[in-house]
Amino acid sequence: MTENSEYLISLEGIYKAFPGVQALENVNFNLKAGEIHGLVGENGAGKSTLIKVITGVERADAGTLSLRGEIIQVRSPQHAQELGISTVYQEINLCPNLTVAENVLIGREPMKLGRIDWQTMNAEAVRILKRLDIEIDVTRPLGEYSVALQQMVAIARSLEITAAEVLILDEPTSSLDSQETENLFQVMRKLKSEGLGIIFISHFIDQVYEITDRITVLRNAKLVGTYNTQYLPHMELIVKMIGRTIGEFDDMSQIKLTSGKRIQEEPLLQAYNLGHTGSIEPFNLELHAGEVLGIAGLLGSGRTETAYLIFGIEKPDQGTLIMDGKEIKHFSPSDSIARGIAFCPEDRKAEGIVDDLTVRENIILAVQANRGWLKNLSRSQQHELADKFIKMLNISTPSADQPVKNLSGGNQQKVILARWLATNPRILILDEPTRGIDVGTKAEIQKLVLELAEEGKACIFISSELEEVLRTSHRIAVLRDKKKIREFSGEVDEQTIMQSIAGSGS
């Protein structure tokens, strides 16, 4: 490094517009060597766009980018990598059907006599992963390992491609549990001590505080400021991010209390010994109108599988499910929708949005599917429905006819929520509805769930964030190792549930 550059990367006066949206407006950002720099902001604040400018995915409309004091043009993601800027995106871009070693060394396979030298390749992969303290069988397909491990592999891979000096991690912890997150942080600290500059994008405020040295806050495409982490109080950061004070969390407990009084005596949905071999062991469950049932448990504990059974994505091979006192015979999403059940899936991209369709089409999709192909909603009915929910859920989009893929993650999530609310369901199953979503929207969604319960709907709220489950649920079911372990109702503290999840209580 030369003396004239205090910063590894420095961006000045960056502007970027997309059709209908100003994504960045006069944004400055810099990164020092050997620091972890948090980049935070609500959905659509411009974080992803800023990263795309740095990594050459998008070109800024105006402004300069300098690397070690020298103004440069990043022409493409590949060029960025050559310059030493490596990125691991939110959605892991690896091939789950290839082996770990192939994934790590894809495109740079060691060759011998014109053929891939598998021995060297596997040994090389082991060595590379060792840098991050990972020891796994590199000859197994990547898809067999947990998301956390896949993420580590992605990081290892991106570090090895070039001698990376800058590492960008976009929401790396959104699908990791606390132990896995801690492992990742150890790796990050190690890399930092090696002199790497790391940009860390996260919605988890606590994690940002735990790991970063400085924090840059974006709001509505503009820079709010860059701060030293240790001098910035939590509350102040959140106010900077969302630009309003948060009273919302406070009135939530009030709503919960009043809605809790209206829970119906008669169960709406009952499951007896409902199960599916290999995905979830038989469980009993009751759901009443007007209540929020939380489901807590670690990743892979059977949370999603439970929802799949109730919504009919997987057909149960044992037990019975009863709704309105009648046993359910036909299990399929369309049958469930006709019965008044809605399901917001966890994997927004693969199971939720239809990305090339417009916001309007995405919102009306389930309603239309339920009406059948003959009873077509007219254009004006579609617009009416879409506009109603865009307004109600505060979806920020230039118009209802924007392809949904142009929206930020949080707004996409709201579109899917709108799709289900539009069917006017009696039972709403939400699987990780706030994953990868900013604090403000999170509070909005949690509040919405309680309000829906107050209106008399029954909700199943699945989340890996215990705090959130506690805040919204009247009753909590705990799953562990594909089995329902316990059920809590009334006031419980985090500690008790945590013990039950971890299995240390027994």
Partner: protein
């Protein structure tokens, strides 16, 4: 006061035009016609005979009508993320069914002796025309249904599933006619492909089928479901769409379109030629859809753009014949045109074009 033409927002117009699905196919068609304007004298000349229009342009839409019909059905299939390789063979089956219904003597059906002398009469048909058409279309739809069942319920890859009928279809067509090429003497049937009412009949038939397809996408939710399934079938399934029924519909409709195309083709050449009717037309149809901007992996589609795509292919052949390129070389030239159009759609060229428009704005 501002001049009128500066007050118009040309930039947003330009953007709207270039972003339209019809832009590239029409651009390609325009370039071919421009070529004809320069190199083929009299290409644009349109004659009137007995109130009907004749000329190279009319020939393009007339000869292109079979591809256009196939392209309509193929658009639905490709939009669901599939492909139908059997449409050419289904055309042959349709031609055979129609031919034996009009003249079953060839395959050994005994007619009353007083009818036998009429079989070469232009006014003779065994079954009335409306029955011929309806039965032919039903058989074609069944072919499509078969493909759809294999793809949707048998979970066989579309290319493999339709390949079966592509091979077997011509055999079935031969079986139907006892491996005889049946000549069609019945004049009303021959009129379908050869008749004129200002424009050729076949142009109206394409228009009619397009109208039906358009109404299906507009007045029912099938268009939305097809696109949704093509873009993300899992999300569609989670939203309650029965992806299998949608695919079944797409293939059945595609078979129906192939049947109409088969009737036109056999009427055109007045014979049921099971070996040659619709030969390699499935590839032309796929190409037409691709030129029309529908992605092979499925999703957003435009019926009209596919039809224009069909015209682009026909216009290329017609122009090449007009300047005296031998038939064998025309295939190669078609390839060049296809490369050109596909390049227009590519990401790289798209971004170049955008940069070009941006510079114009600055």
């Amino acid at each position: 006061m501002k001049k009128f033409w500066t007050s118009i927002d040309w930039r947003s117009y330009w953007r709207k035009i270039t972003e339209s699905r019809l832009f590239f196919p029409i651009l390609a068609l325009a370039l071919i016609l421009l070529f004809d304007l320069i190199f083929v004298p009299g290409f644009f000349k349109i004659e009137t005979r007995e109130g009907n229009l004749y000329g190279s342009l009319i020939n393009i839409v007339r000869n292109g009508s079979t591809v256009a019909l196939l392209a309509i059905g193929m658009t639905f299939v490709i939009a669901t993320g599939g492909v139908d390789l059997s449409v050419g063979a289904v055309m042959a089956i349709a031609a055979s069914v129609a031919a034996i219904m009009m003249n079953p003597v060839i395959i050994g059906v005994e007619l009353p002796p007083d009818l036998m002398k009429f079989i070469y009469d232009p006014n003779f048909t065994f079954a009335p025309l409306w029955q011929v058409i309806i039965v032919t279309l039903i058989v074609s739809a069944i072919c499509g249904l078969w493909n759809g069942t294999l793809v949707a319920y048998g979970r066989i890859q579309p290319m493999v599933a339709t390949l079966i009928l592509m091979y077997a279809g011509r055999g079935i067509a031969q079986l139907i006619t006892n491996a005889v090429r049946i000549q069609i003497f019945y004049e009303p049937y021959a009129k379908i492909g050869n008749g004129w009412l200002i424009l050729p009949y076949s142009v109206y038939i394409v228009g009619f089928v397009y109208l039906i397809a358009w109404l299906i996408t507009r007045k029912t939710a099938i268009g939305l479901f097809i696109e949704s399934v093509g873009i993300n079938f899992r999300s569609s399934f989670f939203s309650g769409i029965d992806e299998r029924k949608i695919k079944l519909f797409a293939y059945t409709f595609c078979g129906l379109c192939a049947g109409v195309a088969g009737i036109i083709a056999s009427s055109n050449i007045r014979t049921s030629d099971a070996n040659n009717i619709g030969l390699t037309l499935e590839l032309d149809a796929i190409l037409a859809v691709v030129i029309g901007g529908t992605l092979m992996e499925g999703g957003r589609f435009s019926l009209l753009a596919s039809i224009v795509g069909g015209w682009v292919i026909q216009a290329t052949s017609t122009s090449m014949y007009a300047i005296g390129v031998p038939a064998n070389a025309v295939m190669a030239i078609k390839g060049v045109v296809v490369i050109f159009v596909i390049l227009l759609y590519s990401e790289q060229v798209g971004s170049l074009l955008r940069r070009f428009t941006r510079q114009k704005e600055a």
